[in-house]
Symmetry: C2
Subunit: 153 residues, 2 copies
């Protein structure tokens, strides 16, 4: 069967193997900014033989073909975004959800950087989202006194 992801990969000179199509479909459908484990745990339900190495290899290929942008919003793991347009991200330190932010880079950068060539724009904010369960008054702490998505002190 020919899916949307299938033709998308073909258009970008990526051989649409079964695994590659499934991984791209996941990214396009969920639009969450998943890490490797999120992709793996979701897809292994219908692909029991799937290897994590395949996901690493596939995403590295997608990045090289500019179909995916890596997100360095976490300090210990990468996240991946099938939206390669320039935009920013907000990560809630309580619930962990990563939200897209529209950027106006023109009046954000005050420096000239003459002669510099910029290839990648990474704009990441962190804080608390507007969900009631993420507000200061009632945010969840674990046994270490940290919020859900913070690492232990």
């Amino acid at each position: 069967m020919t899916t949307k992801a299938d033709t998308y990969l073909l258009e970008n000179n990526v051989n649409p193997s079964y695994q590659r199509v499934k991984i791209m479909e996941y990214l396009l459908r969920k639009k969450n900014h998943p890490n490797i484990d999120m992709i793996f745990n979701n897809l292994k339900k219908e692909m029991p033989k799937l290897s994590k190495t395949t996901i690493y290899n596939t995403l590295k290929l997608f990045i090289k073909r500019n179909l995916v942008s890596p997100l360095t919003i976490e300090d210990n793991m990468l996240r991946y975004d099938a939206d390669t347009k320039i935009h920013g991200h907000f990560k809630c330190i309580n619930c962990g959800i990563i939200t897209d932010i529209n950027l106006d880079l023109k009046n954000m950068n005050r420096d000239e950087l003459p002669g510099y060539t910029i290839f990648e724009h990474h704009v990441n904010f962190k804080g608390r989202c507007n969900k009631k369960s993420c507000n200061k008054k009632s945010f969840n702490k674990n046994k270490n006194g940290n919020t859900n998505w913070e690492k232990s002190a």
Copy 2:
């Protein structure tokens, strides 16, 4: 002897031990955005007994006291900045140097994230700086065909 870093730590409720003062002095003096190894390799010349764990512990303490900001501009290691004012960074993918960028976030779209509280601003650009040796025409490649500071494809 009482140095500038010494009193700076005292003012911020950090016990100015010998190692902590040396690490803070390094950050304030070099103003490069070093990773752990850069700090370690520099300081071990005058502190042969220095442990890398001490540097990790010290920087974690500095971050908690808001004396240092962690930079997630690399995907596999943290860098550290003793300038905690809001500003952005540019990293040259050829020479690796990280330059400060002044930011103007005031007229950023605030109604985009209603009810959100932002604690951290991370703005990182990547590209080629204006040094002649970093320009497209003459940039250095290693045996893997990558530039000096890129990882192997």
